[in-house]
Symmetry: C2
Subunit: 441 residues, 2 copies
């Protein structure tokens, strides 16, 4: 069989697009509409998606009043409580949550993902992130955020502790022999006793090994330390380049780093995040996107742009070019993306703000056929192993994709028509990791 | 209508009793049996219980190998992921989780409870605890645990931050006006900017005010600072005295402290935890309990006793009396309870260990009629506002209570036959708190 795509969904309750809640027919109260979110995930499961990923923030985003009041991201469910509730509404699709390594404890994080994996029958995935929003750090007692290198060093150590804790028990530890009164074999329990530069965690984790051994490790790293962390640890990566050539180069770089780190590169799935707008004609799709983008107010766009650049650009002439932007502590990938876009398309700050506010990243806008063509081309050119889909507004933008594009991909043999297993690792073709402390079982 | 009891359930997935998993017919794999736990909570909801409380530990309990291998508490779901999943299996019963103030961040805790409250339609409760298990502290980078007074001072400040964060938005903040593009009114959002001795938290919480305003505040405090914290903050208290006289005194003390703190004492429900064993005759009930207690190994009992006393008593003569036990950093209530029990009943260490291992606290063991008599007497004597039920083994011990004792209580008019509302506050007769920052809405 020809190589197939993997497909995930990158979700916010209302959509990742700032203007989405204003789109005609959109579910503007999606943030606390569990019925609506359950509908979305069921549609994605019916379409045989690999996973449902709920994006997250650790605070109200740092926007000035004029932009903030227009944002639907200030309120939504916490991901673990939401995904656990959605586990009961589904039976096969993967459930992926972000947990930041910057402001949490590895013991808590290990435990919640292990529990979600048990509750869902092996469908949990952990998006390992470092948090760079300065307004998050102030919710956790820090006036300044740790710098980029320190955040990544902490992330790496955090990952070591969490995965070590997941291996606290051999699968056959729990003998539950009522006759002798022995509930488990203590020789089949491992006490981690981790002592590193940043963490000291004794263990064991008070939870049996997850169904999947380890929940699947996700990352979005695009900076050099981000790529390196992904190459060493990630099983799914959804960083996105805006061009096919850029993505091929990214793909080769991360898989090459993985080989150098001693890993099998087939076990890292590169699944760029892509914004998808489907129409019956290309013109209709473009008109939908233009309509959606027009619903983003300039006050929102200019502050989104400042956020992505890590530099306040509200003071510059909106109709002039983007000046040189100094390095900052912000996400390096979004900064680089916007600067390159401004140079390549010779955009004014106003034009760039419109793109920043309305999602400036990789987008496929077209018919089911043209979108399938693009996805097929990216796959065949070695630019990806699949895509992490972002929908423009809900439910219609999602249903356009599941009801029209997925059948086209299936007809081409590019996407599964049935799940072949019940766990997220099954969908992704990833093996269950051996237990580091009980390798022989 | 005569005053009625409130009833909650204090649960562990296998039971709170060390020998429970060995009892004939018990669900010994209850720790990861979501179907079984869903059955328990549905039975409790059919019986119109106020709440389902899932107890928790932040580590594998600090027991020597011989005791540890016999314990079913080393592994189970994490409470938030579990209760969120159970929210979908139920529609009215309250969902109460422990979150420790010792090793977590108030922003995370505020967010998870607010989310559980939204997901469940207003059924969340927070059991505010300080953590005194030294093996927990080593899972969070601390070689020693903070002392008793510091733990309570931190708990108090933690509570201030969490409740402050819950009030981040006025109920009518989210105008979602697509026409003007204004999603919410920033004048209806409050930035907490909390700066205390132990916490510095900016806020606002990135989640709308919980359905109940605040999830219901639970506590078990029995020590002097524990009682004071309960009197100032708790809405349900489940500390238990072992005698009716002791409980009356406790009841009067905590309600008196509440009055001094300026609170309405009717809005603190004292619901002692009670271990319940039901038989068709008193003799049968006692035989069930004796059978259950006999399933606790001496190796378990002696270490449970050491744990409760905060002092290693494995070296003393098992058949001699309990010597003077020095003060320690352990929970003061369990230490005092065991010491008083040893003196009052003139028990040997072996006898005391059997009680410690098999649950030594308040127990009603009898027929539906005698248990209803005891409950009625406690209520009428002013020793409680209801009970937090603990079941000896599952499912039978729970079903004995819901199917036999609850109908007896209902027949006497002592317990509801239908819910009168849909939120936990409705069941408990507690008002929705006013928003501290938007009092007029």
């Amino acid at each position: 069989m020809a190589r197939q795509l993997h497909l995930g969904a990158f979700m916010r309750p209302v959509s990742i697009h700032t203007g989405a809640w204003r789109y005609p027919g959109a579910t503007r109260d999606g943030n606390f509409n569990l019925k609506a979110i359950s509908h979305y995930i069921r549609k994605l499961e019916q379409a045989k998606f690999d996973y449902f990923f709920m994006a997250d923030h650790l605070g109200v985003l740092n926007l000035p009043r004029e932009a903030l009041m227009r944002s639907h991201t200030v309120t939504s469910y916490e991901p673990f409580t939401l995904l656990s509730a959605l586990a009961g509404a589904t039976s096969q699709i993967g459930l992926v949550a972000t947990a930041s390594t910057t402001y949490d404890e590895p013991f808590h994080v290990a435990r919640r993902f292990a529990s979600l994996d048990h509750i869902s029958g092996g469908r949990a995935g952990w998006n390992v992130v470092t948090t760079s929003n300065p307004d998050s750090s102030r919710n956790f007692g820090m006036d300044t955020q740790p710098d980029h290198a320190e955040r990544y060093a902490r992330a790496h150590e955090f990952y070591e502790v969490v995965t070590g804790l997941w291996d606290s028990f051999a699968d056959n530890a729990f003998v539950m022999d009522a006759e002798s009164g022995i509930y488990f074999d203590p020789d089949r329990m491992h006490t981690l006793d981790y002592k590193g530069e940043r963490f000291s965690v004794r263990g064991p984790l008070n939870i049996a090994r997850p169904v999947q051994g380890w929940p699947v490790i996700f990352q979005a790293g695009a900076s050099d330390p981000g790529r390196q962390l992904a190459a060493e640890t990630a099983e799914v990566v959804f960083a996105a380049e805006s061009t096919l050539e850029g993505s091929k180069s990214y793909y080769d770089d991360v898989k090459g780093r993985a080989v150098k780190a001693g890993r099998n590169p087939d076990l890292i799935k590169i699944m760029p995040a892509v914004f998808l707008v489907v129409g019956d004609t290309v013109e209709e799709a473009k008109a939908k996107r233009a309509k959606l983008d027009s619903l983003v107010h300039y006050d929102s766009g200019i502050h989104s742009l400042s956020g992505m650049l890590g530099h306040d650009v509200t003071g510059y002439d909106p109709d002039g070019p983007l000046p040189e932007i100094p390095e900052s502590n912000a996400s390096k990938s979004s900064r680089r993306f916007m600067v390159e876009l401004a140079r390549a398309e010779n955009l004014t700050i106003r034009e760039l703000a419109a793109k920043a506010g309305s999602y400036g990243g990789l987008a496929f806008v077209g018919t089911p056929e043209t979108i399938a063509d693009e996805m097929q081309n990216w796959l065949e050119q070695g630019a990806c192993d699949g895509f992490t889909a972002m929908f423009p507004y809900l439910p219609e933008g999602l249903e356009d994709f599941t009801d029209k594009v997925v059948p086209e991909l299936q007809a081409r043999g590019l996407f599964r028509s049935e799940y072949e297993g019940d766990t997220l690792r099954d969908h992704l073709g990833l093996p269950r990791p051996a237990n580091a402390f009980f390798p022989d079982e």
